[in-house]
Chain length 216, copies 2
Amino acid sequence: MEQFQPTTRTRVKRLAKRGVYEKAAVNAILDEGIVCHVGFTADGQTYVIPTGYVRVDDRIYVHGSPASRMLGALNQALDVCITVTLIDGLVLARSAFHHSMNYRSVVVLGKARLVTDADEKVAALRAFVNHVVPGRWDEVRQPTAKELQGTHVLALPLDEVSAKVRTGPPIDDEEDYALPIWAGVVPLRTAPGEPVGDPRLLPGLPIFDTARLARS
Amino acid sequence: MEQFQPTTRTRVKRLAKRGVYEKAAVNAILDEGIVCHVGFTADGQTYVIPTGYVRVDDRIYVHGSPASRMLGALNQALDVCITVTLIDGLVLARSAFHHSMNYRSVVVLGKARLVTDADEKVAALRAFVNHVVPGRWDEVRQPTAKELQGTHVLALPLDEVSAKVRTGPPIDDEEDYALPIWAGVVPLRTAPGEPVGDPRLLPGLPIFDTARLARS
């Protein structure tokens, strides 16, 4: 299996057995999530900002307004961190200390690159929309030249990458298994609700089918 | 209404109308979430790590192993950032450009303080467990002295704080409202599934009631 090479910065230090470096496993996490948290430093302060993203091949793209603090900082070729986290469940143990969560998270470190090639930029934006709703790009009005100018797209190579995964039941201290306390996992899942049509929706359009959002 | 005073670092710059500074609104977001993303810098590299948290009064607590990279870095009195993000829905517009998400996020900046007072530490851990499952602390075995030693708790004051919130339907360009394209919001909700009992669960215990997890 193809692996990411852990570096001193991405090797999972704490609970090392939860570290995952296989590319297929990392990509599956990145493809399931829709929001990442981007970390960067500007004027000596660390910021963490949530934003949409998409993986294409061995890159992650984010986009935003040229006026944003994030895009300005990312564009200065500084080392940034993009983290994607999926919460799979609450792990309820028999002791307070062993309570935990089941999760899958990916951390990507590196330098972001401003996408200047017009074809790569449009391809990234198409992937971005279709990552959230498969097939959506071809159904909607596509960007004008002015809209493309008003959007910056940044690419971060999937190079220095690691994942951390916890699955399974709680791990209690041996003597605690005798306690009459319910323990186990409460799965958590993010699910779409009933679509709410725009107030100015044209009459007669079929309602959006949330089955299109099924992931993994 | 009591407000956080925005600073040059927390004032929402991009889409300033989405900025929220009322304490009650910020606290409601912090109390609904269960995972935050902590950003810090160590050896010149920014890291973003997901972890549990709880708000108590005007502080956020996180905890972890004394051996973790995060706790080590947070403990050096550097300015960190803790971000909590709730995703409320997908905003599907008639143009690719105006696709968006409905979300509520809080950004907290400041210096973390290691909690050394034993009472404050236990109170924080109790709040931590009860934040995820109300009332759980009193049902489970409480920490031993050794477990308490093996857990570090850090506090970040809710001082330099802002929230950013998007709600409502897509905002399309005027001429696009005539397009025969479904537009609107697909709500997203995180919901608990059927609890999975631990393989070594004692017989006869009532199954965990997920209604206890209802939030807000």
